[in-house]
Amino acid sequence: MARYAPTIARLVSELERLPGVGGKTAQRLAFHILGLPVEKAEALANAILDARHSTMLCTTCCNLTDTDPCEICSSASRDRSILCVVESPRDVAAMERIREYHGLYHVLHGAINPMQGIGPDRIRVKELLSRLRTTEDTVTEVVLATNPTVEGEATAMYIARLLKPAGIRTTRIAHGLPVGGDLEYADEVTLSKAMEGRREI
């Protein structure tokens, strides 16, 4: 890195810290930015700063937002009787893309993972419980949409148990086959999960 001027080296090493970006890519990005007109570079820098300064966690659903409560939580058109629990803000975006779900969300920001020292107290389970207890929303169903990993399943199970005494209907999203795919190309594990989760038609 000694062959670059210190300011350039700093830019490269900052970019290198980003996920999925290695040394080569960081250099390419840095020189691309340096080649931009000053306004464009400023626009990029400002976009980063604005986004960082103005986003926060929604005090209701813990999703990343720039208004509090977030757009979804404050929307009048959402169904307030159903609540979908996900691991990350990206999962909310994924669910929103289907345009079929019009309920509310709760973002946990992680899953229970003792090996990484993440217990239930380190993810936003407490917020979920107090929200269900105090909110004027009349949530009648909680959909657990954590990832189908060992940790995601364990987290779903943990929350389901906590909610049981409250008598709220708790559901888990299904595992199964990708739509439009051929059965023969499905991997065995997914296929056997789909078989387990079969239902009457």
């Binding site: 290198e16 970006v21 290695g22 040394g23 229970i112 993972n113 003792p114 090996m115 020292g117 217990g119 239930p120 060992v150 940790e151 399943e153 364990a154 199970m157 943990y158 148990r161 906590l162 991997d187 065995e188 594990v189 056997s192």
Partner: protein, 393 residues
């Protein structure tokens, strides 16, 4: 299953190898440490995703390379298939390669998980390492069951991964409970891991009980033929107390969960889980006596051979076609009676044999070669393989 072509890159002592092999018997001969076993190892890795010799993939990479790749072209009953198993070692100096990368390609398509290759290609290996089955601790016998079941039921491998992961998580939590001096009894977080382990673990136990019963039956029959003695080989899967053969999956989940709950406080004290399929064993006995402490060398060899022949038969029964057989320098270790039993047990399978003396194997396997589609010889010397049309005979 019939292997047609083997291509190796950066694998053990092979920089680049590309050989075509034959139905029937393929003999790899040459001096020790020339790379004969490495060829069998590479074939085996296409069946089980791991080596029978090491669990460290980095050990398999050739010294001057930073990755290995195995490409196997083979035919099953219906079609030709191609499997590529490769491993790129981690390199701390290059950020993109901070983690080791394992890839499996099936017919040109990358499989999302290594587990997905299970069941595509079947092989059974007979190697000197097999003696560990009777000489060493329960881990080697659990591994025997795990590898057999993974080849028969692809979902088994996934259950095994889930269980292992849940076990590590439960153990991590137990250690934390111990450190904070909390009470493990009734800890709601611990109960979640009990539940996860019970669900995945019960599936392992259920599958292992069933396959062990089948293995016990076949191995006992084979053993009676091999052994000159009149002793009977008795095999039984020993698992979580209270679980018995014939229990439904549901029963096993319940019993295992209960055991985990009961041992929560003890487990927390030790910082690890004391019961479960990770501690189970396949008990081997001769007429009710435990095999290991008293067995002679000959008794041990007979028991191991019976177990391997059972593996072969179960695999053939379950998949409907004979798996590829890999014999790593085992013929010279067996006496005539056991050799005959082995050759008989081979049926019509494609065979790969290694030996130091080609003429020796030729004699042993004459009958087999006659029954099958001939014998083909390959001379192995310092990582070079040359087909030898005449053999050294």
């Amino acid at each position: 299953m019939q292997v047609q072509r083997i291509e190796l890159t950066g694998f053990r002592n092979y920089g680049n190898l590309d050989i075509r092999v034959y139905p029937g018997v393929n003999v790899f001969y040459g001096d020790n440490a020339q790379g004969k076993t490495n060829i069998l190892e590479s074939i085996y890795m296409c069946a089980c995703a791991r080596s029978h010799r090491t669990s460290r993939d980095a050990d398999i990479i050739r010294h001057s390379d930073d990755f290995y790749s195995i490409k196997l072209t083979f035919a099953n009953q219906t079609q030709d298939e191609e499997l590529v198993v490769s491993f790129q070692d981690a390199d701390a100096k290059i950020p993109e390669r901070a983690r080791a990368l394992r890839t499996v390609m099936h017919n040109g398509m990358r499989l999302p998980r290594v587990a997905d290759m299970m069941g595509l290609f079947h092989a059974v290996i007979f190697a000197p390492e097999d003696l560990m089955l009777v000489k060493e601790g329960p881990a080697s016998r659990r591994r025997y069951l795990d590898l057999l079941l993974s080849q028969i039921r692809p979902a088994y491998f996934n259950d095994l991964q889930t269980y292992t992961r849940a076990l590590s998580q439960r153990n991590a939590l137990l250690k934390r409970i111990r450190e904070t001096r909390a009470d493990a009894g009734g800890d709601p977080e611990l109960e979640i891991w009990d539940e996860t382990m019970a669900a995945a673990g019960a599936r392992l136990i259920h599958a292992r009980l069933a396959v062990s019963a089948r293995v016990a039956e076949i191995a006992s029959r084979e053993h009676a033929r091999i052994s000159s003695d009149t002793e009977r080989l008795v095999i039984r899967y020993r698992t979580v107390a209270g679980v018995k053969e014939g229990d439904t999956l549901h029963d096993i989940v319940g019993k295992f969960r209960q055991r985990l709950r009961q041992s929560a406080r003890d487990d927390a004290e030790k910082g690890q889980t004391s019961q479960g399929p990770h501690r189970d064993d396949l008990d081997l006995g001769l007429d009710g006596e435990g095999l290991r402490p008293f067995a002679s060398q000959g008794q041990q060899r007979s028991a191991v051979l019976a177990l391997k022949l059972a593996e072969l038969q179960v695999l053939e029964e379950e998949t409907g076609e004979p798996p590829v057989l890999l014999l790593d320098d085992v013929m010279s270790e067996l006496d005539a009676r056991r050799r005959n039993a082995l050759v008989e047990g081979m049926g019509s399978a494609q065979v790969f044999v290694t030996c130091t003396d080609a003429a020796h194997v030729g004699g042993d396997m004459e009958e087999l070669a006659a029954r099958q589609k001939g014998m083909h010889y390959f001379h192995v010397e310092r990582g070079q393989v040359a087909e030898d049309p005449a053999g050294l005979l």
